[in-house]
Symmetry: C2
Subunit: 355 residues, 2 copies
Amino acid sequence: MITTEEIRAALRKVMDPELGKSIIDLGMVRDIDVAGEGVGLTLALTTMACPLKNRMIDDIKSAIRGLDGTLTVNVKLAEMSPEDRARITAPPQPQPGLAQEFNEIKHVIAVMSGKGGVGKSSIASLLAVALRKRGERVGLLDADITGPSIPKMFGLQHAKGMSPMGLLPAVSSTGIKIMSINLLLQREDEPIIWRGPFISGAIRQFWADVLWDKLDTLIVDLPPGTSDATLTAMQVLPLSGVLLVTSPQDLAGMVVRKAASMAVQLNIPIIGLIENMAYLQCPDCSRRIDVFGPSHSEETARALGVPMLGCIPLDPELARRADTGQIEVYDLDGFTAIADQVSKRIPDVKREPMA
Amino acid sequence: MITTEEIRAALRKVMDPELGKSIIDLGMVRDIDVAGEGVGLTLALTTMACPLKNRMIDDIKSAIRGLDGTLTVNVKLAEMSPEDRARITAPPQPQPGLAQEFNEIKHVIAVMSGKGGVGKSSIASLLAVALRKRGERVGLLDADITGPSIPKMFGLQHAKGMSPMGLLPAVSSTGIKIMSINLLLQREDEPIIWRGPFISGAIRQFWADVLWDKLDTLIVDLPPGTSDATLTAMQVLPLSGVLLVTSPQDLAGMVVRKAASMAVQLNIPIIGLIENMAYLQCPDCSRRIDVFGPSHSEETARALGVPMLGCIPLDPELARRADTGQIEVYDLDGFTAIADQVSKRIPDVKREPMA
């Protein structure tokens, strides 16, 4: 006859997919009752409207039948008390910020565009590579929690685990320290289905609980949008400035102007504007093709009163290097001058974070 | 001598930029005290860490000095009680859902990619145009609250205002009904700096309080990411299915697999996968250029077990039409067959929304 403890042990492997923790550790399994061939239990949901309840019930049944295939399993549903719910859905508690006390980071700059897919992550990575080549100590914080692309570009899979001082970042082949949610996942294509407070919690932890050690520059790759992730990064991190990235499309220009307004409202200096995907040169006939239409970025830079730091053409080679984890061997060519501009224009004053 | 009421009237024009409402209506102005040439008042902030407090103080001083330039203004800061804060920061209350009762919408499908900038909005728009050309009654709900691009593509600026039944969508030149946050803003480049609950509230309202009337298909353009906006859309809207959009980059493929996993976890059928920005044909020498590297989408479709519905090349003409609000006159050509496929594959069963 099977015991309650065996059932609890088996159910420890069943996760609440939204909270990313075992339903046993979350205290969701109650009143386990074994009688002959039947096992009964109550699953206390955070809310009866939980979209993933059927998935959890299936997982519970499989886990128990894994112990003994002849068992019938009866799962009753209940709803947690507001107190229980508040306890388990609270944002992940950061370590006491020991790492933050220890870290010495001269400058933190964020790369932002508002719009997705204009190449924020490529620019952030190329900038990190260029600064590193000059001998700087460089970190790269991937603040795009739901669509992280930094690790793949550098060919990295996992962070280095925990030290007594904090979470250890992965280190790229040229020595760039990198932290991203995808370095903490089992599978790179696992989705992060989190609401804002969890997203913000992760970004806080990437700042306060990662052992960055001594850095000259920490580059933050912001996600698209001006909601939780961006707002938290701008409030929590002592940003020296923001680098704006746009593409020639007027549509992208409109969204980058939203991003710029946000930075201004939050009193964060704008270092300058980079236009990415500016044009493409045909490899056969060298014809210049304005893939995303004629450039609007000089106008955008003028309207915002910020320096235009450079135009980067579309280059199939960059896509190939990014896809194969080899962004560090991409030929930087024109980008070195842009990186010098960025470096020169980072404001020397360090802002105090606001929250 | 100036009166307290005059001061209140002047301050009614000062907005809390984050909440988008007058500080008077929000009950943030307290203890107005006029003594000789001096005006004192207390500004009760939602939190002392409010990043926009200096902006509000400046606005208050200007507003009062607008009444009488010789006045000195002294603003004390205080923090609201948790109850007051909860009251004013609650998500916007939807109308009683009168519009939702009245609307008759056969199918709701969402366009999703996880990653930004792969052309979700273009695909959603082209699909709307193609279905409309076949005579369908089509709506387009822009669920990208922080980076809305649908109105610009159709050359629309403003919604049609309120009717007793609900908010009236804008109507495109071919008769597509469109709702987007950018149709409700004064300026298209005004940023929406909202945390999750506000974003979710807006999406709920776009569903429940917009007078869509009778539609054959409502197409929802989801934002990048798998956080609040996407989660709310998937939980609140009775989606018949999700259309996935990717680009040839393996990086985009990884993120679209995250999006697909999310749909599976939430029990929403996947209609199929479209590859956008597949390649570019040189207008001079006709050479095919794999701008974002070789395609990985057949692999992605196979791995997900979903039909591959088509490949759409990069076309500078599409960018031009999108930027000038003329997406409805773009030559659909290859897209009509894709739209037929989508239409044929929309599951007939209507899902019940979960929350």
